[in-house]
Amino acid sequence: MSKVAIVTDSNSGITVDEASKLGVYVLPMPFHIRDRDFFEGINIDQKNFYLMIDEGVEIGTSQPSPADVKALWDDILTDHDSIVHIPMSSGLSGSCESARMLAQNYNGRVEVADNKRISVTLRRSILDAKRMADEGMDAASIRKKLEETGLDTTIYIMLDTLTYLKRGGRITPTAAAIGTLLKIRPVLQLQGEKLDAYAKARTPAQGRKLMIQAIRDDIQKRFSGSRIVIDMAYTFDEEALLSFREEVKEAFPWAGEIYYAPLSLSVGCHIGPGALAVTATVCDGDPVSM
């Protein structure tokens, strides 16, 4: 049986510790702040990161350097036959494209899967990929399967404020579409390629209710007849997440103990602290009864 390794980046929310427990590999995303390089989960944590954002410090986001990617792959391939590399959505970062270019030099031993995911939904893909690898599936088939099912997921994120979204140039058109005179908490929808305005709320309670309803609609319409897993994510304010998690559990009693993790910093730097996210992802098994 060929030995397949699973590689992702820290946008999956998987920390180095967790990766070694799961038996997968993770590349930390680099950040350039005040002339220094930081690596997510290595030498910068959520708290310091959001403190710096609050101070208005300019944060440069980047992608793992080709040298680091290459070094990791080479290392892995000394005792594996092949690699499935699953970076964050190509719609949000160039990491995927760079990895593909690099992979061309590996004679098919590295398969780069572009499955359009991020955060806890990307983590689900990693778990699936690891399971498939353990079951003996080859790298190309795993990649194919991940790409086929990549879009079977949905994320809703409520921002505490529009400030950060407006500051970061990248998602400006989204921000521009949302009212600015009143304090509005935008609820964004992340489906594969793009981060888009979904709805607006005046108060956190309204926003949380909106997200739960949106997830319910997606489960009933888009994912009808599928088994669903619900995960959650947040930026900085874990307490707010935990109380929202109770509401989500109440809305979807079948969801059990809901997994949650901080949103990766590459998303966090665009949306700021205090954001809450809830996701639904299709997985193998019997459909849920609503």
Partner: protein, 563 residues
């Protein structure tokens, strides 16, 4: 000798006299408003409603019965302002439905018409309330039916009795509606109807106030404007363009928008035999050039309006008369445009509010058109139809933002005859903001309608204004000049300092799970006073987020919402 019927000419005379008498009494009617707020406007609204119909009737002095009926009905339906105006227009609509079928109105026809009027008006109101104009109309109608049943034929008897019945019923309105009794007034809409009936009878007797279109206070400003504008442009251009290709909605709006920017009295009608176009302008060349962009001009007349003898449709000029006729037919929905929305959308919004700050807020939330108006100035059904027409979208949601505008908005929806206009019955500005915030692009109109309706119920609103007279409401004695905090269900707080009253009102509006307080301050409040209020609220309700915005609205110094 007493007559036993009314002919078309007499109906016209009576209707005009009725309108004039309502107008003459509008101030008295305005003062009958229960809430002593500085914007009692039943009389103004009813007058504006009937005057639109009256000027149409006046314009055709020798028209037959059915034409007069159409003018009365469509003029009042379109001119309807405020709830009382809408109900009046529905009474007139029902009345003319019966009358238009006859050349002469006899007693029995009159009775049948009154009955139809009452039936139509009751149907138009979702929850008809007794002790209002509806009750007065029914009292009058019942008497007419009794007379008809007794074989009475004398029109004078009918009118004397109908007026007596209306008057008696009006006196009973305080017994039917406790708020009237408490305020010590009779129903204002009912009083308005009585004045119309009295005026009509005076008209019948030949002693009514003569109707002169341009002197009436109700349409004074409008009439003057028209006069002024007419002199602004020297040339009347009428032309027909054979299109090189069919025009879409956007292009039609573009053309109208352009024409409105170079003149007025713009009429554009795509007839299938080419586009007929009419405009008053100082630069016929521009109009011709624009027309050439869309096709070939096959007929054209340019005449000087200022020169004596000019009329819009000179006889013997076939193109002018035909095109004008065709233009007129299309006029119902058409209107001058200041700005043409660039792209076609699935859904658009028209909101009614007053104050520059409020308008900005609505626009920033994606509202396409804001009609300036509200408590002090209720837009007419026609204003709403025309605004909706200007929105380049398949579906237009209307946010009336005032309980006295909802009926007129709903009437606008019915009159356009399709499902394009959907009214979200927002009673206050905060409800309108809440509805707009909760709109989700991409969701179906039905889903949005239901989520916006739901959103309305999640926001509690309050408004602070001053009393214009001494009054006792809900057991609370209010002195002239006092500030009143009025919530969704009544007066919440009274006092002589508007900041105190606002804070007191908020205390009643706040619930344990309230998260956000929004305050919109009006045109008569300066920033310092508003900031002072903000401090007070922040220290008093430390658990909630507070947002202060300039609304710039008149009369209502503070509008607040809690959600």
């Amino acid at each position: 000798m007493s007559a036993t019927s009314i002919d078309a000419k007499m109906l016209s005379q009576m209707f005009l006299a009725g309108a004039k008498n309502l107008e003459a009494n509008q101030e008295i009617i305005n003062e009958l408003n229960v809430f002593p707020v500085p914007d009692g406007d039943t009389g103004t609204n009813m007058t504006a409603t009937i005057m639109q119909a009256a000027s149409e009737v006046y314009a055709e002095p020798d028209a037959p019965m059915d034409v007069i009926c159409k003018s009365i009905s469509s003029g009042s339906l379109r001119g309807a302002r405020g709830n009382s105006g809408v109900i009046l227009s529905q009474l007139l609509r029902g009345f003319t439905k019966v009358v238009k079928k006859h050349d002469e109105i006899t007693g029995p026809v009159l009775a049948e018409a009154f009955e139809k009027a009452v039936e139509t008006a009751y149907k138009a109101v979702m929850k008809p309330k007794e002790g209002t104009i509806l009750t007065v109309a029914r009292g009058a109608g019942d008497r007419a039916r009794e007379l008809a049943a007794s074989g009475e034929t004398d029109i004078e008897v009918y009118f004397t009795e109908i007026i007596r019945a209306a008057s008696e019923t009006l006196e009973t309105t305080p017994d039917l509606l406790p708020v009237l009794k408490e305020a010590g007034v009779v129903d204002s809409g009912g009083k308005g109807l009585l004045e119309v009936l009295k005026g009509a009878y005076d008209g019948y007797l030949g002693k009514g106030i003569p109707f002169e279109q341009k002197t009436g206070a109700g349409c004074d400003s409008q009439a003057e404007q028209v006069e002024e504008v007419k002199l602004k442009y020297a040339y009347c251009v009428v032309l027909r363009v054979i299109l090189s290709q069919n025009l879409n909605r956007k292009q039609m709006m573009d053309i109208r928008g352009f024409l409105s920017s170079v003149g007025d009295d713009v009429k554009v009608n795509d007839t299938g035999k080419g586009v007929f176009l009419h405009i008053h302008t100082n630069d016929p060349g521009l109009v011709i050039q624009k027309s050439l962009l869309y096709g070939e001009i096959c007929e054209i007349t340019v005449s000087n309006i200022a020169m004596e003898g000019h009329i819009d449709a000179p006889e013997g000029t076939p193109i002018t008369s035909e095109s004008l006729k065709l233009c007129e037919e299309s006029e119902a929905g058409a209107s001058p445009l200041e700005k043409v929305p660039a792209e076609h959308k699935d859904t658009g919004f028209v909101a009614v509010c007053s104050g520059v700050g409020m308008a900005e807020i609505f626009k920033s939330l994606g509202c396409d058109i804001v009609i300036e108006g509200g408590q002090t100035m209720n837009p007419s059904t026609d204003d709403i139809i025309k605004s909706a027409e200007r929105v380049n979208a398949d579906k237009v949601f209307i946010l009336p933002n005032n309980k006295n505008i909802i009926l007129a908005a709903e009437q606008a929806g019915k009159m356009t005859g399709d499902d394009r206009i959907v009214v979200i019955p927002t009673k206050t500005v905060p409800q309108g903001i809440s509805a707009l915030v909760n709109y989700i692009p991409g969701e179906s109109a039905e889903e949005n309608e239901s989520s916006m309706r739901e959103a309305i119920s999640t926001v509690a609103s309050g408004e602070v204004t001053y009393a214009v007279r001494d009054v006792v409401i809900e057991g609370q004695s209010i002195k002239q000049g006092d500030y009143m905090g009025i919530g969704d269900s009544g007066i919440l707080c009274v006092g002589n300092n508007r900041v105190d009253v606002t804070v007191g009102m908020l205390e009643k509006l706040m619930k344990s799970d309230s998260e956000l307080i929004s305050v919109y301050y009006g045109e008569d409040v300066d920033e310092n006073e508003a900031a002072g209020l903000l401090d007070r609220i922040n220290s008093k309700f430390s658990g909630a987020e507070v947002e202060l915005q300039y609304g710039g609205q008149p009369i209502y110094d503070f509008i607040v919402s809690v959600e």
